[in-house]
Amino acid sequence: MKDLAEAARLALKMITSGDPVLYATTLRTLLISATATALSSLFFIPAGAFLYFSSFPGKKLVTEVVRTLYGIPTVLVGMLVFLAVSRTGPLGNLGLLFTPAAIAIGEAILVAPIITGLTFSALRTGGHELAETALSLGAGRWTAVLKVLSEKRQVLLTTVLVAFGRAVSEVGIAVMVGGNIAGYTRTLTTSIVLAVGKGEVARSIALGMVLLLLALSVNVTLTFLDPERNR
């Protein structure tokens, strides 16, 4: 093993000198995670809204289950998606295994409970009142729900960012259904796994720094968005 400080110096140089593989991997990671988050938001912000606005027996149980699934292990999702999209699986003929799309789908599933649950929580403060106000002014039910979501856009953006943070930092799904194919399905986290395995300390550190930087910028954005802070 080389000296750690030396490795850190090399890592910094990789970042500052624009190491092409490092940058391509970062960009790819961002795209995959953003797609996953967007895809999941598209379905599960409405799902959270539905959960909030509808009433049915067992609703409490469902919300509890959703909340429990916040911490669903990534390898579990990875395994399920692998079994589903593998050639012999039910979705095998889509040929999705070992593609960025498969990772995005897996990550979308991973963050679905977070998006659903946080949307639900976001609406709990005043959601019904806003919806009824929209209804009272002549809106249809759909328009009313959309108006509430738009009124809550700041909290929802926070939700999306939290989900993105989770997607970007997971590794189990990316390895299992992405296969860590160089230049295609290799993400920051899977690169780190590989680099550490190979004993490439400098590269591991550089990758780790970029990942940390991403997580940090998500966090800074979240803080910036916090309405309490804006007032």
Partner: protein, 348 residues
């Protein structure tokens, strides 16, 4: 015409509205009255198409307001509700007021013009671009009123719009609402606890109890001819009269009645029945309003009795304890004196 047809509502397994049928004609100002929990707000929410009833229909000019259908959507655009505690959308006063107009596809320029107009009417022009998070309670109330009124709906439902307002704002709101109702002749439906508002604004009304309509009709009939003990008890007066006011006195039939205030012209006058005392001779009381009369009827519910006394054709109702009734040996036909303080007289 707005029609509520066989409306039933169930909440947590309890029937909170039980078979309500009501009709409201164009130009009418309909008052919903009743004690807290009688179903006024629930009924208003159904009429306002906020909640779906468990049974029954809401029809506007015979068109059912079924959700999802095109015709239902059109009805929805014609019905606007102002809640008791209105919620504003994020943004400015102006963006709140324009929202409903944009929803209806009103062009930007036209929406701007109408918004300016209503802002001006409600003295809100100076707040036009203020963020709603900086508004006071009264300003929120008026913005919400403007947001509802700007839509010029054919049906405007008001759920106790003045309860959270201070007396000054209250008067102002009543004046605005009344003026706008007269100006564009839509159907206004208002739930209220306040008889002053009911009598000064309403043309028609209904008294509700336990999810049912006890009595509906012209507003003065509700007060003057309660059909059930409950209505009578609820409107609480029994003593509502048409009156001519002049020179600090009111004339009801041939009786001159002293009252506070300086009202002129014709209107209504009411004396709460608790304020009406009965005595056997003239001099035992010091109230300014004293009239001789004859007991017409004594009806009782428990310890409290209602006594009707005819004074020169004017029927006064007095609320007495059973003990007092016995002590005075009151019975129909007995001659008595009816008296009440000038300060207990309310005018409308």
């Amino acid at each position: 015409m707005l029609r509520l047809e066989d409306i039933e509502q169930v909440k947590n397994g309890v029937r909170i509205i039980r078979g309500v049928n009501l009709e409201m004609k164009p130009g009418s100002f309909f008052i919903l009255m009743g004690p807290t929990g009688c179903g006024k707000t629930t009924l208003l929410r159904i009429a306002g198409l906020i909640d779906r009833p468990a049974r029954g229909r809401v029809l506007l000019d015979g068109v059912p307001a079924s959700p999802g259908k095109r015709s239902g959507m059109r009805v929805r655009r014609d019905v606007v509700t102002l809640f008791q505690n209105p919620v504003l959308f994020g943004g400015t006063v102006r963006s709140n007021i324009e929202w409903g107009l944009k929803l209806r596809g009103v062009k930007t320029r036209e929406a701007g013009r109408r918004t300016d107009e209503i802002l001006d009417t409600l003295n809100l022009s100076h707040l036009s671009l203020r963020n709603v998070s900086t508004l006071s309670g009264g300003e929120i109330q008026r913005t919400a009123l403007a947001r509802a009124l700007v839509l010029k709906p054919r049906i405007l439902l008001l759920d106790e719009p003045t309860t959270s307002a201070d007396p000054e704002l209250r008067k102002e709101l009543v004046r605005e609402i009344s003026g706008l109702h007269r100006k564009w002749g839509a159907i206004f439906v208002m739930a209220t606890h306040d008889f002053t508002e009911a009598l000064s604004l309403g043309t028609h009304g209904a008294v509700m109890k336990d999810g049912r309509v006890e009595q509906a009709g012209a507003i003065d009939d509700l007060f003057r001819k309660p059909e059930s003990p409950f209505t009578a008890a609820f409107v609480g007066l029994g003593n509502v009269f048409k009156a001519k006011f002049s020179g600090g006195k009111a004339m009801v039939n041939t009786l001159y009645i002293h009252h506070p205030g300086d009202r002129e012209g014709s209107g209504y006058l009411a004396v709460p029945k608790e304020s009406v005392t009965i005595s056997l001779n003239k001099n035992s009381t010091s109230e300014r309003n004293r009239f001789p009369g004859r007991v017409v009827s004594i009806t009782g519910n428990g310890s409290l009795m209602n006594l009707e006394v005819d004074c020169a054709g004017v029927l006064f109702v007095s609320s007495l304890t059973e003990a007092a009734t016995k002590e005075l040996a009151l019975e129909p036909g007995r001659e008595v004196w009816v008296s009440f303080k000038a300060s207990s007289v309310r005018t409308f």
